[in-house]
Amino acid sequence: MDLTLARQWMDAFFEDLKAHKDYLSELDNPIGDGDHGINMARGATAAQEALTQSPPETLNGLFKTIAMSLLSKVGGASGPLYGSVFLAFAKASLDQDTLDDKTLSQLFIDGKDALMNRGKATKGEKTMVDVWIPFSERFNQDPLTKEDVDAMVLATKPLKATKGRAAYLGDRSIGHIDPGSMSSGYLFKTFLNVRDHS
């Protein structure tokens, strides 16, 4: 995956976030503060503007620009979380012109680690981590499909939240899909789509 493809991936992700803005906020309503869609769409718009204004010339620059845009514009917990993910992506792609499967695998592992560090989250707490762990672990083993990603996102539904604002709700958080996992699902599915159609 070179810079052009990575840029296509990111644009597809941002378009997905904007298109599903209301749905993401709707998922966030019962277990959060109902602003995940609005926050992520605001970040997506800011990132796209920054990329248009000064188009990055390297993969590192692409991910760094996105990280800084999300950090400065998202406004909710997903700002520092996704910001940390893209900073980890930037670091993993430093001095690389293309991302081969090995580097991509490392990219997702580093993103997952950054997320766990920043959010002090572990497996099974009904957070984004619950899709990042299986995706990054299985990336190198299985030819992952969009259906696999959907299954990972859906698997957050029966979990009881023990982290983040949803944790205040205890058992009431059971039965709802985690909104952050849904938006991470968009990141993974747009990746698979761009990779499989290039």
Binding site: D35, G76, G79, P80, R165
Partner: protein, 121 residues
């Protein structure tokens, strides 16, 4: 010099708390990051970093309200040149205690000792 930075999802919260602190500790350098630049509720790395940089003190106690504010504060703490103590104390009580003690010239160990029982997050 030691100062205070207040971080909240709401601009009105930091504005009100800053007013309160100025009553008891006019001389303590105080800056705030409340809400988003659009006026919406939330916190961002950029606004917290700006409040840290705008504060004339080089040692700062930072008080915040909720979880996502904490993560943004931690990122600023990791990248800032200043010495930043990110306090998990209840925001109003913690900032009030710190302002009182900084104004009285108390040592850091005394301030930390007084903040400890106020930790809620």
């Amino acid at each position: 010099m030691t100062g205070i930075v207040l971080v909240s999802h709401s601009g009105l919260i930091v504005q009100g708390l800053a007013e309160l602190l100025k009553e008891i500790a006019k001389d303590v350098p105080l800056t705030t990051a409340g809400g988003l630049e659009t006026g919406d509720i939330g916190t961002t790395f950029d606004r917290i970093e700006a409040a840290v940089n705008a504060n004339p003190a080089d040692t700062l106690y930072v008080f915040y309200d909720l979880g996502s504010a904490k993560m943004n504060c931690e990122m600023v703490q990791e990248t800032a040149d200043k010495t930043i103590y990110l306090s998990g104390a209840a925001m109003i009580e913690g900032a009030f205690v710190a302002a009182t003690l900084i104004s009285a010239g108390a040592e850091q160990s005394v301030i930390d000792g007084q903040l400890k029982p106020l930790h809620v997050k």
